[in-house]
C-alpha cells in the first residue's frame, strides 16, 4: 500500500520562550514491511542537531530552537510503501537484547488485576498463541473510549476503569506479556484510518511481543488485529514515554499548549486502481 502522511504538531507558549530542545523519533523504521519514498521532518525556526540510529533500530534526531519564540511547528510529511507482514517485524536491525524488554516501568506494572487477566495463559507451549490470547483479552477488558484516560494513566488504572485508548491497550498488553516472561514493548506510529467508522486516531500506538524463533511481532489490541500495511512504524520503547515520537523541553516559566493534526491517506496507484 502506498501511504502519505502529514503530521503537524504545534506548540503554543503563553509567554515567549528562550529556547526549545527536542528529541524526535519521527523517521519510519527500516524493515521489510516499509519502503520510504520521501520523508521530511521540519521544525519552524529550528536547527537540526545530532542524529543517530539507536540500539533498538530507531532514528533519533535532536533539534533546537533558539528563542524568543511563542510558537513552533513540527511538520512531518512523507510517502511510504507498506507491505503486510502479518505483524512480523522482519528484517529490522537492532542490537538491544530482547531481555531488556522484560523490565517493568510505572505505566506497565502488572498489578493483581492484570495478573488475573493473564490467568491460565501459558506461553511455554505456544508463545504466539499466548500473545494472541493476551491481546484478545486486553481488547475485551478495555473498551475504546476516547477521553476516558490521560497520558499518565497506567495499565492497571485503565484496566480497573475498563476504558481507555490505544496507549492504554498497548500498556496493558505489555504488562501481561512481561508478567508471563514474554518481552514486550511499546510502538508508536501512524495508522490509515479506515472507512469502517472506527474512530481511532491516525497517530497510533500498539505493542510488540518477542516470540522466540519469530522475533518481534506486533499486536494492536485497540483494533483487534496485528499491524498490516495500514500501519507505519516509527519507534519503540519500554512504554509510551520511552517510545515517544517527540520529547521536548522549552526554556520558560510559562504554560504550553499543543495542537496535533495527523492525516494518513492512501495513494491510489496504477496497479491498485486496475485491481
Amino acid at each position: 500500500m502506498l501511504l502519505t502522511v502529514d503530521h503537524k504538531t504545534r506548540y503554543f507558549y503563553d509567554q515567549p520562550v528562550r529556547g526549545v530542545v527536542q528529541s524526535h523519533r519521527l523517521m519510519p523504521s527500516v524493515f521489510e514491511g516499509q519502503r520510504m519514498r520521501r520523508w521530511k521532518v521540519s521544525v519552524s525556526d529550528g536547527q537540526m542537531g545530532g542524529g543517530f540510529r539507536d540500539g533498538a533500530g530507531d532514528w533519533v534526531q535532536g533539534w533546537t530552537v533558539l528563542g524568543p519564540v511563542s510558537e513552533i511547528t513540527v511538520h512531518v510529511s512523507g510517502e511510504i510503501e507498506t507491505t503486510d507482514l502479518a505483524g512480523v517485524l522482519r528484517g529490522h536491525k537492532e542490537i538491544v537484547p530482547s531481555e531488556c524488554y522484560l523490565r517493568f516501568t510505572r505505566p506497565t506494572e502488572a498489578d493483581a488485576g492484570l495478573v488475573a487477566l493473564a490467568d491460565g495463559v501459558n506461553p511455554a507451549s505456544d508463545a504466539l498463541a499466548a500473545a494472541h490470547e493476551l491481546s484478545a483479552r486486553v481488547s475485551q477488558a478495555i473498551a475504546y473510549t476516547p477521553g476516558a484516560t490521560d497520558a499518565h494513566t497506567t495499565a492497571a488504572e485503565a484496566l480497573a476503569k475498563g476504558e481507555g485508548v490505544c496507549q492504554d491497550h498497548a500498556h496493558a498488553l505489555i504488562a501481561v506479556a512481561r508478567h508471563l516472561g514474554l518481552p514486550a514493548r511499546y510502538v508508536s506510529g501512524y495508522l490509515l484510518v479506515g472507512h469502517d467508522g472506527a474512530p481511532h486516531e491516525a497517530a497510533h500506538a500498539w505493542a510488540e511481543v518477542h516470540i522466540a524463533g519469530l522475533g518481534w511481532v506486533g499486536f494492536d489490541p485497540a483494533n483487534r488485529c496485528c499491524p498490516d500495511d495500514r500501519y507505519i512504524r516509527l519507534g519503540s520503547g519500554l512504554d509510551s514515554g520511552n517510545a515517544a515520537m517527540i520529547r521536548g523541553i522549552a526554556r520558560s516559566q510559562g504554560e504550553e499548549s499543543l495542537d496535533v493534526s495527523v492525516t494518513v491517506a492512501q495513494v491510489q496507484t496504477q496497479s491498485q486502481t486496475q485491481q
Partner: protein, 470 residues
C-alpha cells in the same frame, strides 16, 4: 578468636615499610601528638574539606576524622596491586563495551542475561554505542582489603563516579605540611600528579566531532551535594570549569556553556550526576540537574560524558561475582586480585546457606552503598539478624552475602595512645587512551575498636597512604 594481620608488626618485629615510622612514633610525646592533631583539624577546617553524612542528620559540615599515622606499602607490594587494579579496570571496560554491543559474554553463557539486561543500571539508550577509545568507566575506584602479607581481596568496584580522591590529595598535603621531616627521611611516591593525569585522561576521550584541544568541564549537582567540595577542588586543580546543569545548553549538534564572554563549546563532561538525572529528554523527565538534549549530542559524537552513561552495570554487586570470569574471558589472564567469595541470595542453594549462617556473614543490598542496608553478622544483635532474615526472605535477589573478612590493621592514634584499627583501600585507576594509577589511594580506617565498617558515613576516618619508592 580471629587473628588480624597487622601491617606494621609481625610479632614483635617491625615490617620493613614501617621501619622509619617506629622511631617517629616513639619520639612523639602525647602532648605533641595532641597539638599536631589539633593542627591537622584546623588545617582541614581552613581548607573547607567536610563530608555531609547521608540520612544521619546532625552537622552536615562535620569533618571526616583524619588519622596522622600513615598507612604504608612497599614498592613491591604496590607493583602487584597496580597490575591487579589495571587488569580489573581493563576487564570492566571490555565488559561494558561488550554488553552494550554484541554481548559475547552472555552468548557464551559466562554470565546470566537477566543479571545484565534486567539490571536497573543497564541503559538501553546507549546500546550499540562505543564511546571514544572504547572506555565507559574513566575513573575506576576499586575497594580493596588486606588479610595477610600477600592476600588482597576486592570488596567492590566503583565504575560510575567514585568519590574520595580529594582526601587522598589533602591527606598528603596536610601530612607534608605537618611532618616535613618524615618526607625527607622516607622516599614516598608523590600523588600530586593525579589532577593532571585526570585532565589528560578526560581530554584523551574527546568526542569524534572534536577537532581541536578539547574543553573539559566538571558537571556537579550543586553545592548541596555531599561531594561538592571535591567537585570544586578537582576543577581548581585541573584548571577546568565547574558547572551545573543550568550552565550548559544544547544548540544544534553541540553542548555549550554560558560564560561571561559568551557561549563556549564543551567537549568532555566529567559528570558527578547519576545517569537518571543527566538529560530529562532521555531519562527522568523531572530532573532539573541535567542538560536537555545532552544524550542526543552524546550519541551523535558531539560530546563525551565521563563516566559513560550505562557504566553502572559493571559495578553492580551481583555482577561483581563475575569479574574474575570477565578477566579470563576478555583478557585471557588469571585474575591477580581475588574476589571475596560471594553468595547470591537469588540462587536457592546460596540462600539456604546464607540464612543458616547469618551470624557469621556480612549481608549487603545489591544496589546499596555507603555501608547502609548492611548486616555484619558477628557484630549484630539477634533482632538485627532476624530483621535481615525477614528482608532477605522477602526479596532474596536484592541481597548478597560474604564471609566476615579479617581486615588488616594499622597503628592508629586513639585516645589511649596508639592502637591497631582496621583499614581498607580505594585506589583510583584512570582509563583513557592509557591506563594510569597514581601510587596511593584513600585508606579508610574504622576508628571504633573492633569495628570492621570503614565507611566515612559510619564513623570511619582517613589516613595518608604511602607507597615507598624501591
Amino acid at each position: 578468636m580471629t587473628s588480624y594481620f597487622n601491617e606494621m608488626y609481625q610479632g614483635t618485629s617491625v615490617r620493613a615499610p614501617y621501619a622509619r615510622l617506629q622511631d617517629w612514633m616513639q619520639a612523639m610525646p602525647a602532648e605533641l601528638r595532641q597539638m599536631k592533631q589539633a593542627e591537622a583539624e584546623a588545617l582541614f577546617r581552613r581548607i573547607g574539606i567536610t563530608f555531609a553524612v547521608y540520612g544521619e542528620g546532625g552537622d552536615p559540615d562535620r569533618l571526616i576524622p583524619f588519622d596522622m599515622f600513615p598507612r604504608v606499602f612497599s614498592g613491591t607490594e604496590w607493583a602487584r596491586l597496580e597490575r591487579g587494579i589495571k587488569q580489573r579496570a581493563r576487564a570492566l571496560n571490555a565488559f561494558l563495551v561488550d554488553v552494550y554491543g554484541r554481548g559475547e559474554i552472555v552468548r557464551a553463557g559466562r554470565i546470566p542475561a537477566r543479571l545484565v539486561y534486567l539490571n536497573e543500571a543497564y541503559e538501553k539508550a546507549v546500546a550499540g554505542f562505543v564511546p571514544p577509545k572504547g572506555v565507559y568507566s574513566h575513573i575506576v575506584g576499586i575497594d580493596l582489603v588486606r588479610t595477610g602479607p600477600d592476600e588482597f581481596f576486592v570488596l567492590e568496584d566503583n565504575c560510575r563516579t567514585p568519590s574520595g580522591v580529594s582526601y587522598m590529595l589533602e591527606n598528603r598535603e596536610i601530612m607534608m605540611r605537618m611532618f616535613p621531616d618524615l618526607f625527607r627521611e622516607n622516599r614516598i611516591e608523590p600523588v600530586d600528579r593525579y589532577p593532571e593525569i585526570l585532565r589528560r585522561t578526560l581530554a584523551s576521550v574527546a568526542p569524534q566531532k572534536c577537532d581541536r584541544e578539547p574543553t573539559v568541564v566538571i558537571l556537579t549537582p550543586g553545592h548541596f551535594n555531599s561531594a561538592y567540595y571535591e567537585h570544586s577542588f578537582l576543577a581548581d586543580l585541573m584548571g577546568v570549569e565547574l558547572v551545573e546543569g543550568q550552565d550548559l545548553f544544547v544548540e544544534g549538534e553541540f553542548v555549550f556553556m554560558r560564560t561571561t564572554e559568551g557561549p563556549r563549546r564543551v567537549d568532555v563532561i566529567y559528570r558527578r550526576i547519576d545517569d537518571a538525572f543527566i538529560d530529562p529528554l532521555c531519562f527522568r523527565p523531572d530532573s532539573m540537574l541535567g542538560v536537555p538534549g545532552l544524550m542526543d549530542v552524546y550519541r551523535s559524537g558531539g560530546v563525551s560524558i565521563c563516566s559513560a552513561p550505562g557504566a553502572g552495570v559493571a559495578d553492580d554487586k551481583a555482577v561483581y561475582t563475575y569479574v574474575p570470569d570477565m578477566i579470563r574471558f576478555y583478557l585471557g589472564e588469571e585474575p591477580i586480585l581475588q574476589n571475596v567469595p560471594t553468595w547470591q541470595c537469588g540462587k536457592a542453594e546460596d540462600l539456604k546457606y546464607v540464612l543458616a549462617h547469618l551470624n557469621e556473614l556480612v549481608v549487603k543490598e545489591v544496589h546499596g552503598s555507603g555501608g547502609y542496608g548492611m548486616l555484619v553478622g558477628p557484630k549484630a544483635t539477634q533482632d538485627q539478624v532476624e530483621l535481615f532474615r525477614a528482608r532477605i526472605t522477602a526479596n532474596p535477589g536484592n541481597y548478597i552475602a560474604q564471609p566476615t573478612l579479617a581486615l588488616s590493621t594499622t597503628p592508629t592514634f586513639v585516645a589511649e595512645g596508639i592502637a591497631p584499627r582496621h583499614v581498607d583501600l580505594r585506589p583510583y585507576c584512570l582509563v583513557g587512551e592509557r591506563i594510569e594509577l597514581v601510587p596511593g589511594g584513600l585508606t579508610r580506617v574504622a576508628l571504633t575498636e573492633g569495628s570492621l565498617v570503614v565507611n566515612s558515613s559510619q564513623g570511619g576516618g582517613v589516613k595518608d597512604t604511602w607507597v615507598l619508592a624501591e
